[in-house]
Assembly symmetry: C2
């Protein structure tokens, strides 16, 4: 049983005859006869009553017709939803925690208002993981920090993010790694986080060997910084949303270290209308 068999059967049932169905299908009648007989053979059921060179749909035929209509309609939907140029289906988006609250909410809300028929599937993860997921097709789009050039990825720059080093109030001003001990304690997300790596690179560049404590929540991380547990690197924009700023000191970095470029990435060659629309939303 194939879709084309069901299509032929549907047409015969609808037209009430082989000849008319054949005409509609641009086939020769003998071919239509053969396909009906093939179906009847396979299902072990007569789909039509043959009476005086006429066909009347049988009970079994009726039953099959119900299914055939549903199946063919679904197959049609599948084709249209895959080939159409209107956003549809599910859009899976990932982003760093760092931009979750500050940068993602608005475009997400606007996109959903404009395309309510698209189901959104959003999650946050560190940059490195997001890139892997995009490459493996587990995510359609991701907002990540400073992605490297990759022939497999499409990349568009969305905004610049100023990063600052934060410490407790009691800490001296930090303008270079020299202002820290040789083995400073660093609070950061896991090793696939771009900001954490930027911070450790900055320290290594200044001959420091950091000890890293992995904390996968900015809320917790800033509490720990406030308590003097160590330093961290976070977007300046993020600090507005957190209530610890009184007990936290913010240190501006030299410009070559301060600016992180946040980009939208996707797997090249796998674009679809939903992705295009969201991308447009972000860049507008």
């Amino acid at each position: 049983m194939e879709l084309s068999d069901l299509q032929v059967f549907q047409q015969v049932a609808q037209c009430g005859g082989i000849t008319r169905a054949a005409e509609k299908l641009n086939r020769v009648p003998s071919n239509v006869t053969a396909r009906i007989q093939k179906l009847e053979e396979e299902l072990q059921q007569l789909l039509f009553i043959r009476e005086k060179n006429r066909l009347y749909i049988s009970s079994a035929g009726h039953q099959l017709l119900d299914y055939a209509n549903q199946i063919l309609s679904l197959a049609d939907q599948a084709k249209h939803s895959l080939q159409g140029d209107k956003p549809n289906g599910t859009l899976r988006i990932g982003y760093m925690d760092a931009v979750a609250a500050t940068r993602v909410v608005r475009p997400l809300k606007q996109f959903h208002e404009q395309f309510p028929e698209v189901s959104l599937n959003v999650r946050s993860a560190p940059t490195g993981l997001l890139i892997e997921h995009v490459l493996e097709g587990k995510l359609d789009l991701a907002l990540v920090a400073d992605p490297e050039q990759d022939t497999r990825l499409g990349i568009t720059h969305i905004f610049d993010e100023e990063l600052v080093v934060v410490s407790s109030r009691r800490h001296q001003t930090i303008s270079s790694p020299n202002d820290l001990s040789a083995n400073p304690t660093v609070l950061g997300f896991n090793y696939k986080c771009a900001y954490r790596n930027r911070l450790t690179n900055w320290l290594k560049h200044g001959q420091c060997v950091p000890k890293v404590i992995e904390i996968n929540s900015y809320h917790t991380m800033l509490s720990c910084v406030a308590a003097g547990m160590g330093i961290a690197m976070v977007p300046r924009a993020l600090l507005n949303d957190y209530p610890f700023t009184d007990s936290i000191q913010c240190h501006t970095l030299a410009s070559e270290w301060a600016v992180s470029r946040t980009a939208l990435i996707w797997r090249k060659g796998f674009e679809n209308p939903s992705m295009d629309a969201f991308s447009k939303q972000l860049t507008a």
Copy 2:
């Protein structure tokens, strides 16, 4: 796009690879590759991301997989419901008005209790029309009066029905057509009704030429008989259910005219489990 294509695709998506899918499907890997490529070509969408000799399902692939699952499940249902030996689907039953109230209700109710998953589609019509509908596949089963042998029909006798002639109270006793005028007025269903034809045949056999008034409702017909408008032929069993018996006279016929055989008919070669079950119900 064919069902077998979707089946192959589904298996590849599920197994996460060409080789394993091919094994499950008892096909050779190159064939599986070819079918996936055919689908991708037809839909103009890459269904998998090829990365280091591995396949990862793409966004489009996910979308198609959703549809494929639905479509294949429906196709499976179709096959099972057509080939299974348990009553299912829709059962279309017709019967004469004459037996509607008296003989059909109980088995119908019992059948529905025993097989609630079968949707019943019942209607009443005169015997002649019922036979036509069964022959044309518009009805699965029908209860009709005295069907003629027909190689296309399956026929089982269900019960005998005693027919009586009814007239108004004031009419003289009727034991043969001679007790009536030469042109008696007859009240009957339409010309495809077996009982009406039996009455007119009985009259013609006795040299009467009846004038027929067509009334397609026993209720109305008996009211008219009570009012002295003419005579009619009805099952004796039917009279118990009508409130006019006081003003109606009942005339017993000679045995060769009195007994009508009610039979269940169906189109030969188009039996199915629902029909078998209902037939069993009736004969039990």
